[in-house]
């Protein structure tokens, strides 16, 4: 938990400095995400960022605030994992029988409704094997492991009794300036 505090502090420093360069990141995966809600397991399950180069930049601009089972949902700008919303959980709660991760990585995502930036905590849900539904991998603000609190290529169930990864939630843990 102390580490999380540290990460948040570090993140907040960075966010202050870098706020101008943040942009709404959204991957072409949203379409894949949607397809997979419908036809998971028949279509290939695509775990990583499959962004088509041709459309990546354009795709990054779009995002939505209505369907949290799609990868272009605004909170998923730095997501990496199966969406818990497709796995029996919700955008912020774990599926039955799993346990929220004790530690998490964070990202900053812009809500298209109010145009403001929110601090998002990506808590994995742990204790059951991969959900396998609605893989979503985006990397806005993601950093290598030496900035571990911003790193999503590691299993954040690591500190739970069972470190087995099932899916990932996206919790609002910080509000835009002025809303606190």
């Amino acid at each position: 938990m102390g580490l999380i505090g540290n990460w948040l502090d570090r993140w907040s420093e960075r966010s202050t400095r870098n706020v101008a360069q943040r942009s709404s990141r959204r991957s072409a995966l949203n379409r894949i995400g949607k397809l997979m809600v419908g036809s998971a397991f028949v279509l290939p399950v695509l775990p990583f960022d499959r962004t088509s180069q041709a459309h990546a930049a354009e795709a990054r601009k779009r995002k939505q605030a209505t369907d949290d089972t799609a990868c272009d949902y605004w909170r998923y700008c730095a997501q990496d994992g199966y969406l818990c919303s497709c796995c029996g959980g919700t955008v912020s709660t774990c599926p039955p029988g799993t346990e929220p991760s004790k530690v998490a990585w964070v990202g900053t995502c812009r809500n298209p409704v109010d145009g403001k930036d929110y601090l998002i905590s990506y808590n994995d849900c742990c204790g059951k094997t991969s959900c396998g539904r609605c893989m979503c991998n985006t990397s806005h603000g993601e950093r290598p492991g030496y900035r571990l609190g911003l790193h999503n290529d590691v299993n954040w169930c690591m500190a739970n009794d069972s470190s087995v990864f099932h899916c990932t939630t996206a919790l609002i843990v910080g509000l835009p300036e002025g809303n606190a």
Partner: protein, 383 residues
Amino acid sequence: MNSIAWARRSLLALACMGATVALADGLDSTGVVEMAPPTPQRLYVVDPAFPHMIDGRMHIVDGDTERYLGVISTGYSASVALAPDRKEIYVATTYYARLNHGERTDVVDIHDAQTLSWKGEIVIPTRHAQAMAARNVTQTSFDGHYLFVQNATPATSVTVVDLKARKVIAEVQTPGCWSVYPSPSVAGRFSAMCGNGSMLTVTLDAAGQVLSRRQSAPFFDPDKDPVFTNFDRYQGRYVFVSYHGQVHVADLSGEEAKFDAPWSLLNAADRKQHWRPGGYQLLATHEPSGRLFVTMHDKGEEGTHKDPAKEIWAFDLNTHQRVSRSPGYGAGGLAVSRGDKPRLYALNVEEAKITQVDVSGAKPRFLRTMQPIAETPIQLELQ
């Protein structure tokens, strides 16, 4: 808002694990979803996950909304049974200390069917049959007191687990026989289908001692017309079908199995077209209407007995008359929901799709085909 305040809020949120409420100030807290109470249309889809058989699953899905409710890990080549009251799920499975090597431990895992959480395990002999998941390889006694688990080493036997005492009370040898068919009225009694066409019935006392062991006279010829081991129940009796479409209804309540005279699903024209039953969980009954549903295909021949359905046929179990023919939906498995609005669920094994058919009226009525669930679903149970 400054960074310190954000950090504090986050720590607060993260400290509230287990709560499902969003904080009033717009911040989220971690938590776990509580499932709504079950409806008759809750599906339990058993998925051996062939490409990763070590990581089998049972998916829980709401048939009304198609919402994916959650999953249970079933380990390696599990067989699964629901408690009669659907409060618990029993999974007979195998674990190795190191995934695929090291010490083998076979257990019956017990899961809470409403929270989908693991409640505990009962260690069983390391002989559990690693069979394609099917009803006939693991079943509870009629009252949920015992669990009967098929073994194969390949010598065949049955492990009897006392689910109340949470311990194994017996292992019964069943050479040349296969399946566990619990008695509809005696908790410590089960039957098994045997290679000579007979039914073996074993009766145990509460301590697991064998009280009786009776082999029926052969009721089918396994060389000429093998009977599928899958089954459904009707009025406390077991309903089976054969490769060539004979229906065998067995009374397994007593010390020795008794059988009605078999009857055929086929008329002369059907036979000419070589209609046959085919699939895995290839038949389902609906008690209130006395109907039997069977997955059927034409042009049948040696080796087609697992082919998916070209049609689903319905029969009146009392008159033995065919009452409807429906599209097959490519089904290899069937199940009918209980309650007021019975639905036939037809599992297309190939495409992992489930078709819902309203069977509340005389004529089956197509409702919808659900989006694919699972990788390699093979067994389907209902609330």
